[in-house]
């Protein structure tokens, strides 16, 4: 069961509080969960609350934080770079994730049958998703979409003179969208596993009833896959909102040209760790957390209307 469905069905589970072995287990749980409890307090939950506090302060790391109320939050509304970074991130998330998932689903459907060379194709499509987040690939992208890069060399064979894609404000973000679509392999693997779990008898029954393959696709494959589509959608949206490395390397840390690749997390890094506006960066981080939570909650609410659960 995926983490998501696990969370939504958690209430159905019993606490098991009246088990006779509970007392002994309680002590053992401290042993087994000890490291996790410490990590939760020191590394996760503690810092989470601390950053909430810092988001209401003016803090430069060198002097003590000064409490300034909601000023960091109100300042965001009038910060044009922050608004720009939200726009850049929104475009990236809402364009690249659907394209990436469509590619993943399309390829998974092409690969589903026990065809010759399946393992080889699967590897070829999967490999980029393991490498895509690295600095090395971002460097490669910077060259490929540069003025004299690979894309323009290929275009010139056809007599087309290309742009410096990464250095043009209208195109730079698109090159990063292409990069994210290129990493469709991981969701593709999840789709492949999902396709495998659709009972063969559904198709057999449909064939006997005379359903065409197209009809079978729309009435069996897609509905049975909707939980997987939902899972991939939620995870990829959350991941895309936090994109940093590629934009940082391709733009040399600036988010340029003309802030066209100023992702939200990149601006957060600039504010927090380049300008030492730690209070403002913390407020930005909380905005990111809230946006992530709202988007995920919205996804769960909307899922009632399109996700089909067989049980």
């Amino acid at each position: 069961m995926s983490a998501l469905s696990e969370l939504s069905t958690l209430r159905k589970q019993k606490g098991g509080a009246n088990s006779p072995t509970e007392k002994a287990d309680g002590r053992w749980s401290l042993f087994f969960l000890g490291p996790w409890y410490i990590g939760l307090i020191l590394i996760t939950a503690g810092p989470l609350l601390a950053s909430l506090y810092l988001s209401f302060t003016d803090y430069d790391l060198l002097t003590d934080p000064q409490f300034i109320g909601v000023e960091n939050y109100t300042q965001m509304f009038s910060d044009p770079r922050l608004i720009k970074s939200l726009q850049v991130t929104a475009i990236y998330v809402f364009v690249s994730v659907p394209l990436q998932l469509a590619a993943a689903l399309g390829l998974a459907l092409l690969l589903d049958r026990g065809m010759r060379g399946l393992a080889l194709y699967r590897s070829a499509f999967y490999l980029p998703s393991l490498l895509g987040g690295s600095v090395a690939i971002a460097i490669l992208w910077r060259q490929i979409f540069g003025t004299t890069g690979l894309i323009n060399q290929v275009l010139s064979i056809f007599g087309i003179e290309g742009q410096g894609w990464v250095s043009h404000p209208d195109y730079a973000l698109s090159t990063l969208i292409v990069l994210n679509v290129w990493t469709f392999g991981a969701p593709m693997i999840i789709f492949l596993a999902g396709l495998r779990q659709i009972p063969e008898m559904y198709y057999e029954a449909a064939s006997i009833d005379g359903a065409t393959r197209l009809r079978q696709f729309w009435s069996i494959t897609i509905p049975m896959l909707t939980p997987i589509i939902f899972f991939n959608l939620v995870l990829q949206l959350i991941g895309a909102m936090q994109t940093f490395t590629q934009a940082f390397v391709v733009s040399g840390g600036s988010g340029g040209p003309a802030d066209s690749t100023l992702f939200f997390t990149l601006y957060l890094y600039q504010q927090g760790f380049a300008s030492l506006n730690m209070g403002y960066a913390s407020a930005m981080a909380w905005l990111l957390l809230i946006l992530t939570a709202v988007l995920t909650a919205l996804n769960f609410l909307l899922s009632k209307y399109w996700v089909f659960y067989n049980d």
Binding site: A3, E6, L10, Q13, G16, A17, S19, E22, G26, W28, L33, W36, I38, G39, L40, I43, G46, P47, L48, L61, L107, L110, L111, R113, G114, M115, R116, G117, F125, Y126, L127, L130, L131, G133, S134, V135, A136, I137, I139, L140, I144, T148, L150, Q153, I189, L192, A193, G194, E200, Y203, R213, I228, F231, N232, I238, V249, G252, Y269, L288, T292
Partner: protein, 301 residues
């Protein structure tokens, strides 16, 4: 839910009966040929950038801007020797730094996440559903929302520009994705095995070490492989915690390289990029089975 352990290796590759009738066999063969052509074309497009980077890394610098093809006209391996010594330290220094952090992280995740997963899968304790929900939620927590206070904490401890901020949290089970992965796996191990062991007088420690761990090698392998790749590629936290060139890891060193040299040395930049990708590629090559099953398992009921 437990296909990580139960399905045979070939499960993803087993043929599925074709639904097309006998009379359209010729038609179906044409379709299959067309499908292979589409897949090969797509595969070439997907891998071309990687292959081109590999080929460019052995081309003279100016050829990178002229030759979109894969076969170099001239072989020039000097990019590798130049790139290796282009920064303050030889590239092996950064490879070693990355390796230390990766090995520490793998070890930390294996130990701490397996321990935590055993508690969630097998023990009864107060507020277990609440703790479990907290664990699941932390999977989705963006690192950005904790990084500033973490930075303050680690600088108070004098840990900035050491590997400790990158490794110690792994020993505290902060990568809860892997706890979840192992909980899933442990739940698939029959409880009768524990009960039989308990009748023989075994405690939780022995059950954990002598039953759960030996039976969970695939899940441990998946954890180790994903931790390896994600830590090796990780840039954000290494950029923040390591600012001293002595402590730079491969991604941070590469970033310094690209910012300091510009277009004049793409060849050596590509050469070192290839070097940085080799470990991930090798892990992919030898661990693919666990990678594929690992991500498939987490997404499937």
């Amino acid at each position: 839910m437990t296909d990580l352990q139960e399905r045979p290796d070939t499960a993803l590759d087993t043929p599925k009966p074709d639904h097309v009738g006998v009379e359209s066999r010729g038609h179906s063969r044409a379709r299959s040929l067309l499908k292979h052509l589409v897949l090969i074309a797509l595969g070439v497009v997907m891998l071309y950038p990687l292959l081109w980077m590999l080929s460019s890394s052995i081309k003279p610098n100016d050829a990178i801007f002229r030759e979109p093809g894969l076969i170099p006209n001239q072989f020039d391996f000097s990019n590798y020797t130049v790139g290796w010594d282009a920064l303050l330290h030889p590239f092996s220094h950064y490879l070693l730094n990355s390796a230390i952090i990766v090995l520490g992280s793998v070890l930390g995740n294996l130990i701490s996440c397996a321990l935590a997963a055993y508690a969630f899968a097998r023990l009864n304790f107060r507020l277990k559903p609440l703790w479990f929900a907290i664990m699941l939620i932390t999977i989705m927590l963006p690192i950005h929302v904790v990084i500033v206070p973490q930075y303050v904490l680690f600088s108070e401890l004098g840990w900035i520009n050491t590997f400790l901020p990158l490794v110690v949290p792994k020993f505290l089970a902060t990568d809860s994705f892997f706890i979840f992965l192992m909980v899933q796996f442990f739940r698939g191990i029959p409880k009768e095995l524990d009960e039989a062991a308990r009748l023989d007088g075994a405690g939780h420690l022995r059950i954990f070490f002598q039953i759960m761990i030996p039976l969970s090698l695939p899940a441990l392998a998946t954890t180790a492989i994903f931790t390896f790749i994600w830590t090796w590629n990780d840039f954000f936290s290494q950029l923040i915690f390591l600012t001293n060139p002595d402590k730079y890891t491969v991604p941070v060193a590469l970033r310094t390289f690209v910012d300091s040299t510009g277009a004049s040395s793409w060849g050596s930049l590509f050469a070192m990029s290839i070097v940085s990708l080799i470990p991930v590629f090798l892990v992919f090559l030898f661990g693919q089975k666990y990678l594929v099953k690992g991500i498939a398992t987490t997404g499937i009921k």
